[in-house]
Assembly symmetry: C2
Homo-oligomer: 213 residues x 2
Amino acid sequence: MGGLAEQAVDRACQAYIDRDLARCHAVLEGETLINATEREIDELAFDLLAMQQPMAVDLRFILAVTKINSDLERVGDQAVNIAERVMDLVELPKVELPVDIPRMAAAVAAMVRRSLESFIEGKAELAQAVLEMDNVVDRMKDEAFIILVKAMNEHPDVTRQALDALLVARNLERVADHATNIAEDVIFWVRGADVRHGANPESSARQEVSDTH
Amino acid sequence: MGGLAEQAVDRACQAYIDRDLARCHAVLEGETLINATEREIDELAFDLLAMQQPMAVDLRFILAVTKINSDLERVGDQAVNIAERVMDLVELPKVELPVDIPRMAAAVAAMVRRSLESFIEGKAELAQAVLEMDNVVDRMKDEAFIILVKAMNEHPDVTRQALDALLVARNLERVADHATNIAEDVIFWVRGADVRHGANPESSARQEVSDTH
């Protein structure tokens, strides 16, 4: 599931960079498998809860898995959204926009990769590092927003392209928020602590996939 | 939790209509309580799973509750996002925009209310009605998008206001998607069926809080 979600984001970002319709279609088609896999994992978790009645760390693990599963499915949705923006962009004249989407995409991909590593290795320290990366991505998105609104104002003829880029930046920020959620669920599982909403003062507040700009 | 989330959306929409900063602040302040309530419900669910080891319909109920809880918290986040857009709008000159946000807000509020009713009364038929309302809201958002992009192109001086309204429309559409998720979780609990992603052919596909435009 993690691999599928990661691949979807990578493909969507590469599609943006290369204005590549084939990769967009691959992302759209891949969504069916991601959705089916989410259901399968959910059913497995349900059966385990119903039949094994797990306790303590095992129960925490299964609950963390169901949440991570849901976040990964939503990462897949964001990849679909990016692919759809690219499909819109490809139909429009190519313009230079003052925003570095590839740099943002690289930072977000690194967060997703590390959050999955922290899960696979059961390492809370790795997960903690993901939480710290999230602020960087938030700042990139805020900057993109300001610059692109300015571009729309000054060059109305590129409004639609700038809007597409702005929405891609927002989708990337949401992917980063889901990676943050995954990292927090790993910490919950490994340490038994709930780090959401700054309940644990030494950690960052949970990212609620909010779009403050 | 449902009441808090519903109130947050109502306040944010009323703030948009009246350009009312006081209501915006009420939404931002209300988020803390929503987040705390989410944690509390999550902990109760965890304790029940750990100590009572519920089976069959009880297990389905608790799993549905944890998902509904998470969707309601995200509804609260969307209300915060709307309030932030309103705070931006209030600083800009007031302009007439060709979009009926109040009508969309009313449709979305009705979906949230009915999804909560279906949960409280345990009625799958009510939940089914929510699924059918979702397409209407999606269409409203698509129309808003097309009209507002046109407005930005033709009147660059209102770009920022039009963008704020566009983002409010998207946030409302996301609230509708969360109401749809809640309705599906009610059906899962009551009927024991998973209606996500069109797994059940007689129902609509699960709304994945995606933004296809």
